[in-house]
Amino acid sequence: MTAAPTRSPGASRQSGRRPEQAAARHRVGAYPWAMAGAIAVAVSGAALSLNGVLRGWGWYWPVLTTVVVVSLTLAALRSVRAQPLLVTAGGFISLGAILTLTFFRSSSLAGFIPTAGTLVELNRLIRRASETVLSETAPVAPNVGIVMVICAVLGLAVILVDALAVPLGIPAASGVGLLAILVVPAMIKPQSVGFWGFAFTVAGYLAVLACSQYFAPSARFQTDSARSPGQVKRAVLTGSVALAATLVVPMAIPGFDQGTFPQGSRLNPWGTSTGLNPMITLGNSLRTPDGSGRITYATNASTPLYLRSVTVDHFDGDSWGPDDRDASRLPLGGRIDPGYTVLADEQQRLVTAIDAGSFTSPYLPAPYAPESVRGLSGRWTWDPATLSIKGSDTTTSRRQEYLVTSTAPRLTAGLLAQSSAAVQGIPEDFTRIPGNVPDIVRSTADTVAGTGTPYAKAMAIQKYLRSAEFTYSLQSPVQGGYDGNGLSVLADFLEQKSGYCIHYASAMAVMARLEGIPSRIAVGYAPGRLTGATVSVAGQGALPEYEVDARDAHAWPELYFQGLGWVPFEPTPSRGVVPDYATESSTAAAPDALDNNDDLLPDATPAPTPAPSATALPAPGGGGSADPGVQLLPWLLVACSVLGLALLMAAPRLIRAGMRARRLRPQDPANAVPLGWRELLDLGTDFGLPPGSSETPRAYSARLRGALLGDPDGLDRAAHQAVAALTAGFERHSYGRPSGADPEAAADGGQPGPARGTGGAVAAQIAAVESSLQANAGLPRRLQAAWIPPSVMGRLGRLLAAPFLATGHFLRRTAKAAARSRPGHSRQGAGDGVRRHSGG
C-alpha cells in the first residue's frame, strides 16, 4: 500500500466514525418498534397454542392486550433511549398496570394503580388458578384466575425475550422464553402445539433474530454483509425452508401425530394413575398407546368381571372427583358389609385373585361387592357407603397380590322390574340432584326416560345412549373442547353425541338422579382379555387368567334398586359387556362378546380373541394372546422400519459412493479431468474445507494442501503431488487452449497434453489424496466424511431449496413486472388529468 493519502489514518477513522454514530442515533427510531413487533408476534403466536389448554377463545383478548401493551412500553422507552435497566423495569411496571386494569379494576386507584386490596384479590385469584391447575383437566374453563396467571406469565415472557434479545444481546437465546410457553400445550394438549401456534411462534422468533441482526446496535453484531440483499434473502430463505420443513415433514411422515410425549399425554413422572383424581387420568389412560399399568386377575366368575376401584357421587361443580369420606372409613380387617340387605334369591359368590402389577393407585381394584380381601400389605380402609378400598398414607396398589371374595346377586330383568319400592337407607349423597343442571340434560332425561318403574327408566336411558345416534370417540371430546367431566361437559356431550365412557357413565348417572334413581359413577376396568395362562387358587383349583391395562380403563354407572343393591349398567357403546339383566329381550345381543375395539389405535391393538387360545403361551409383556399370524405383522413392521432407518442413515454414504464411481469411470475420457477435479472438491468439502465461490482452483488447492494434508516432503508427498497434478490438469482443461483446436498446445514444451488425465490416473490420484486426508483427520471428521458427507448434504439442501428459490424468483419477477407497469399507468393517469383539465 502506498503512503499516498496525506491524512493520517487515525484522523480519517475518527472523522468517519462520527457520522456513523449520528446515523446510528437516527436509526434508533425504527429499531425498537420492529423488535417489539417481532416479540409481540412471537409471544402472542405462542399463546395461540394455548387454545385447547384453555377452552374457547374468550381468554385471548386479555392476553393479547397484555402482550401488546408490555411490548409497546418497552419499545417506547427504548425509542427515547432510556437506560436498559429502566426499560426492563418499565416493562414490569406496565405489566403490573395492565394486569391491574384488566383484573383488579375495582380495588385499584385510578383503575391501574394496585392497592392493598389488590393484593388480597390477587391472592384469591392465584389460589383459584392453582385449584384449576391441580384439579381440572385440559381444556379448562377460562376462569378469571387462570387467565390472570396466563396473562402475567406471557407478559413476563415478553420482558424475558426482550431482555435476552436487546440489552443482553443474545437474541438466539430468547427462544427459551418462547419455548417455555410452548412446553405447556406440548405436554397437555393431545394435538400438541398445533400448526398456527407453532408457525407464528417460529415466524416471530425469526423476526426477532432478523431485527437484532439488521439493526444491530453495536458493531459487535453487525457484519458488513448483514445488510446486503443477498444475505437477507438467504436468511429469509433458510428460515422459511426450515419452518416449512418442520410443518410439512410431520404431515408427510406417519407417526408424528401419535406418540407418547407430544401427543397430549400428560407428563406424569409418578405413573399413569396417581390417584389424585382418577377422572382426570381416565381419558389419558385410554389414549395411552401402550398398555401400561397391566393388571392380571384370575376369577371363577362365569360372566365377565368389572374391576372397580372408586366411585364418584358428587356431581356438583366443574370437576368431579371421588369423595373419600375419610371420617367414616373403617380399617380393612374382617368382613366388608355393604350396609344393605339384598333380597335376591340367589347370591353368587366369586373368588378373584388379583395381581396389581405396576398399577399404582391408592384405590384398590376389586370386583363388586367385596366381602373380604386377603393378602394385602400396608394399611387399607374401606368406605361403608361405596365399598371402595383405599390405602391410607402412602399405601398404594403397586405390586399387591391379593384375593378378593365378592358376592353379587344373580340379577334378572324380572327381578329388577319388580323392584319399584321407594328407596330407603341410602345416604343422601347418592340421591342429591346437583344444582344448575344444564337444560339439555334435564330435557333429555325427561323425554328419554318416560314413565314407569325405575328399571324401565334406566333401561330407556341406557338404550338411548347406546343408540346409533351416539358414537364412541376418544378424540372428539378433545377436539370439541369438552374432554373431562362436569355438568357443562355433559351438556356438550349430549349435544355432540360423541365421547367416551366417562361421558356416557356420567350422562346416565345424572339423568338417573333426575329421574329419582340413586346413582353413582364407578371407575375401574372393563373386562379384560384372557391371557391363556391359569392361576391356581387355594380351594378353587386352576382359574383362567385375564389381563387388563390402561386401555381398558372404564367408567360405568351404578344405580340403586331397593332390595337389590347397587346394580351396574353399561351405557357406553362398544365398550365393556352389557349385563344380562340390562339387555333388551328383543335385541339378541351377545353378552359375552368382549367388544373392546376402541378406534384410537387400529393397528397397534391386536384383535381380541373371543376364545382362549389353544396354545397356552406364557404371556409376553403386554402382548396379549394374539395368534402368531397376527403377531408377525408388528415384527415385520419393526423389521421394515429398522431396515428403512438403516437405509436412510446409509443413504448419504451410498449416494456419495455412487457419485464417486460415476466420476472416476467417466463415459468420455475427455471428461476425466474435470470430473476428477469435482471429486477433489467434494473430498475437500467432506473433510471440512468447502471451496469458496470466489476461489480459483489454484487457491483452493493451495488451501487444501495447507490445511488438510501433512508434510509435503514426508508421508503425504504423493497426496501433494496428486493434488498439484489434478489442479494443473483441471486448469489446463478449463482455461487452456481447447484440445485439438490448436496443435501447438499438444506439442507445447514437452508438457503432456490434456489427454494425459485418463480415468485410471485420476482415480489413483484421488485415492492417494483420500488416504492422506483420512490419515490427517480426526475421528469425528472421518466419521462425518464417511456417513454424512457435507458435499451430499449440501446438494440435498440445495435440491430441497430449489422449489422455494424458483417460487421466490417467480414472485420477484412478477413483482418487478407489476412495478414496471405501474409507473406507466400513473403517467397515463396524469396525462388524462391534464387533458381533462385543459378540456374543462
Partner: protein, 375 residues
C-alpha cells in the same frame, strides 16, 4: 562508458544520439517479430530478474511486476516516498535490456517540445527538420512526473497510448518496445500537478516500492557503500529478444471463462457502492494483457483467473476512485479491490462451479449477486 552516456540526464545529448531513429510512421509498418519458444522465454526472464535483483535488494516482486508491464507493452508508474529506489529500479530494468534509454527529469518549466521534439528550420537546406525529443527511446524514465505542468504531462499522453509523436502535422512512430516508467512522489505535493485521471489511466500499473526489510537493508548498506551497483549491470537481453518475448506474451491463450471473469471484475467495480469511479474498458484490456504477461512469466501458455487476481491490484488500484463515505471510513482502493475479489465467483468452463448462486438481485445488489445475473 557508452551506456553511461546514454543514461545521462541530458535531453539534448539523447536527442542527438537518437536522431536517426526518428522516422515517420509509414516506414515501420508491418513488422512483427517471431515469438520466442518457452525455454528461451523462461531463460531470458530469469536473466533479467536475477540481474535486477543484484541491484535492488529484497524487491523481487516489484521487479517482476515491472517486467510484467514491460512484456505486456504497458507503462509503469512508480509511486513512493523519496529514497526507496524508484529511479534505481527503472534504471536497472532499462540497463538489463540492450536498448535505448532516456531519462527526463520533470520540472515545472519543462516544455512539451522538450519531450516530443521540435521542428527546426535548417538554414542550409531551407527545410524544417525534426529534432526528436527525449521520448524517442525504448525505455523512457520520467522522474517526478507530477512536477511538470499539465501541458507537458499531456504531451506524454499521445506518445504512451499511440506509440507515436505528432509534430507539425507529421506523425513519427516510436520504436518498439516502448515503455514509460514514471516515478511520482506522493508527499510534498505543494507546487505539483497531480496526474489527472485520464493520464493515470494510461499507465498499466502503479506500484509502490515500500521499504526493504531489515536484512535487505543491512545488505544494501554493505554492498552499496563504495560504488553504485548500477555500474555492474550489463545488458542481458537484446531489444530484439524483448520484442520476441512480447510476441510470445501476445500469443498466450485466454479462455472465455477468464474473459468473463475479467469483465465481471470490471463490472463489479462499477457497481460497487464504495466506488465513485470503476474500472474503464481500457483498464480491463490492460488488466488482461498484464495477466497474459504474468502467465507467460509463470511458464504457462494460458491465463488463469489467478493471473488476473495477481495483477488486479497493481493495474486497477490507481484508476478507481473511492466514494467519499468509503474513503471516510478508512477504505483504500486496495482494500475495496480485495473485498470485491474475495466475493467474485470464479467461473470455469464446463465445470459449472460458478453458477451456484445464480439468483439475481435487486438494483442495489452487492457485486457478487449483481454479477451472476450477467452470466
Amino acid at each position: 562508458m557508452e551506456s553511461h552516456r546514454r543514461t545521462a540526464n541530458d535531453v539534448s545529448a539523447a536527442n542527438r544520439t537518437l536522431a536517426g531513429l526518428a522516422d515517420p510512421v509509414s516506414h515501420l509498418n508491418g513488422h512483427r517479430p517471431a515469438a520466442m519458444d518457452a525455454e528461451g522465454f523462461h531463460a531470458a526472464t530469469q536473466r533479467i530478474l536475477s540481474s535486477v535483483n543484484t541491484v535492488i535488494d529484497g524487491k523481487s516482486d516489484a521487479a517482476r511486476l515491472a517486467l510484467t508491464v514491460l512484456l505486456a507493452q504497458g507503462h509503469l508508474l512508480l509511486e513512493d516516498v523519496p529514497g526507496v529506489g524508484k529511479t534505481l529500479l527503472a534504471k536497472t530494468l532499462a540497463r538489463t535490456i540492450d536498448c535505448t534509454v532516456n531519462r527526463i527529469q520533470f520540472t515545472p518549466d519543462l516544455l512539451p517540445s522538450d519531450v516530443t521534439g521540435v521542428s527546426i528550420y535548417n538554414q542550409s537546406s531551407r527545410l524544417f527538420e525534426f529534432r526528436p525529443g527525449a521520448v524517442f527511446a525504448n525505455i523512457v524514465i520520467g522522474d517526478e512526473i507530477n512536477r511538470a505542468s499539465a501541458k507537458t504531462q499531456s504531451a506524454l499522453l499521445e506518445c504512451m497510448e499511440e506509440h507515436q509523436v505528432t509534430v507539425d502535422g507529421t506523425s513519427y512512430r516510436l520504436d518498439e518496445p516502448f515503455m514509460v516508467v514514471a516515478t511520482q512522489n506522493p508527499i510534498e505535493m505543494e507546487g505539483t500537478y497531480p496526474l489527472p485521471e485520464a493520464q493515470r489511466d494510461r499507465f498499466m500499473a502503479r506500484i509502490s516500492m515500500g521499504y526493504p526489510d531489515k536484512d535487505a537493508e543491512i545488505e544494501m548498506l554493505e554492498t552499496h557503500q563504495a560504488t553504485s551497483p548500477l555500474t555492474r549491470v550489463s545488458a542481458v537481453v537484446t531489444s530484439a529478444e524483448v520484442a520476441a518475448m512480447i510476441t510470445t506474451v501476445q500469443q498466450v491463450y485466454v479462455s472465455k471463462a477468464v474473459k468473463e471473469y475479467t469483465v465481471s471484475l470490471g463490472r463489479a467495480t462499477r457497481e460497487s457502492p464504495l466506488l465513485r469511479l470503476g474500472a474503464s474498458p481500457r483498464s480491463l484490456l490492460q488488466l488482461l494483457r498484464a495477466a497474459k504477461a504474468t502467465a507467460a512469466l509463470d511458464a504457462r501458455d494460458f491465463v488463469l483467473p489467478d493471473d488476473v487476481v495477481h495483477v488486479a491490484e497493481a493495474v486497477l488500484a490507481h484508476r478507481i476512485i473511492l466514494d467519499r463515505k468509503a474513503a471516510g471510513s478508512g477504505e483504500t482502493p486496495h482494500s475495496v479491490l480485495r473485498g470485491i475479489l474475495s466475493r467474485l465467483p470464479v467461473t470455469s468452463e464446463g465445470a459449472g462451479t460458478g453458477t451456484r448462486n445464480a439468483a439475481p438481485a435487486g438494483r442495489t445488489a452487492a457485486p457478487v449477486t449483481g454479477l451472476s445475473r450477467n452470466q
